[in-house]
Symmetry: C2
Subunit: 266 residues, 2 copies
């Protein structure tokens, strides 16, 4: 995910879009590989795009900077980054016109600012925005499918749900992903470290991560995430259960306890 917007860099806005998308993908057995945020600046957008494409991801979702104002420059930045010109998309123009007509928003006049939202890199296609004016944009670049979505959370989410996610799910196929979060009490991270190391040796593809949660009533608390993804049906479940059992067996004799176990989602 590439987020564009100075408001994210100056602490004005929390990147809740990234959290939403990350969670959504994780629940489906996929994962955001990287989140990058850059300024509303043509050079920054262009070079960040090139950096992202060098990783050769299956998908790149660019969020923000599609609106009518001059600070909205994502599509121009993408065009510069991939060395392709801009053109007016007739289908995008029709979507924008329809939006204004349907909502009766200040007449049907196609001002330059409104037209701007239909100008996209050559080869790109417009994606319907069910809630707002600026259409999303889809293009294929060297094996990566790039989506550009508006930064307004409700619009980003609705396009993602309707147009991005179905495509990702088709390409990824079915993955089993199991996740458990254990809340531990009475153990320090430094004492838990060798236990985790041992589990990772036994289950090399598992994800096990500890988050210190401070000291409450004189006892150290840790939140421990365990996740396994597998293409084999039932295997992820089995591995997660086994890891949880083994961790219990390793820490309980040392006086630590598992005070809560939460399943299902990150």
């Amino acid at each position: 995910m590439l987020a564009v917007g100075r408001e994210l860099l100056i602490g004005r806005t929390l990147n809740t879009n990234a959290r939403w998308m990350g969670k959504r993908l994780a629940l489906r057995g996929s994962q955001l590989a990287e989140i990058t945020t850059v300024d509303d600046d043509l050079g920054e957008i262009a070079s960040a795009l090139r950096g992202c494409l060098e990783r050769r991801p299956d998908y790149l979702v660019i969020v923000g900077g599609l609106g009518p104002t001059p600070d909205d420059m994502t599509l121009k930045g993408v065009s510069r980054g991939i060395g392709k010109g801009l053109r007016l998309s007739e289908s995008a123009l029709a979507m924008i016109r329809e939006h204004y007509v349907k909502r009766n928003l200040g007449g049907m006049e196609m001002t330059p600012a409104r037209k701007k939202m239909a100008v996209m890199p050559v080869g790109a296609s417009a994606v319907k925005n069910p809630l707002g004016t600026a259409p999303g944009v889809r293009l294929e670049l060297r094996g990566t499918t790039v989506f550009c979505l508006p930064g307004v959370p409700s619009e980003m989410k609705s396009i993602f749900r309707e147009s991005v996610e179905p495509e990702i799910r088709r390409r990824l196929g079915k993955l089993d992903r199991e996740y458990v979060s254990m809340r531990l009490e009475g153990i320090y991270e430094s004492a838990l470290a060798p236990v985790i190391r041992n589990e990772l040796r036994k289950h090399p593809s598992a994800y096990i991560k500890s988050h210190p949660r401070g000291i409450k009533e004189g006892k150290s608390r840790i939140e421990l995430d365990v996740a396994v993804v597998s293409e084999v049906r039932g295997k992820a479940r089995k591995s997660v259960d086994q890891i949880v059992r083994e961790i219990r067996e390793a820490i309980e004799p040392e006086g630590a306890t598992v005070i809560a176990l939460r399943e299902g989602q990150p």
Copy 2:
């Protein structure tokens, strides 16, 4: 800022550290140029580090992955990224020992997991962590000063305040930064676009950005940020005031109103 941690990629945790640091720097006339988040993975950390250094920033702050558990691999990743070996830092070891002694946390024994927090790239120095166990790390790389800080927000903030910020302020010198946020009612972004374009022509170094805030009681609302940074004392203030006045003069005859004006910080 380079954030390391899968919890940020799977939607488990919001990157509030990035917001805090971005705001803190913006208030002092500086700015985060980029925020990148990657997984707890040696290759990912190493290549993200190289990508960040290619931008030749004055500072790079890496957050997360300094603890005692195996998933904490930031320093190993940095070492790989810059092609330098790891060594045990005696001063870091002393800091860790002091922390355990002072808090009487499970004895003074230097287990391998505790020692791990003192292993850092050759040439790096340990930075005191006033609140937690894992010391921060500072190193100079091709003109960029790199700080590695723990991801626990309280610890990150305390090291940033005590050791990172004073250095940044010394290097940056004094900049004037003025900021105003205008809340507008009764105007659409597409109608505001030419007004902003005109202001940016008159004040090319200004930052002007609009955020749509939906439609309330039939009227479109927009939040408009205006910011100017200048080395000349008083100039930023004057420019911001002038931009606000000119925007008022442009939109009020069209029936739009400024319903609130907030100064001072993003």
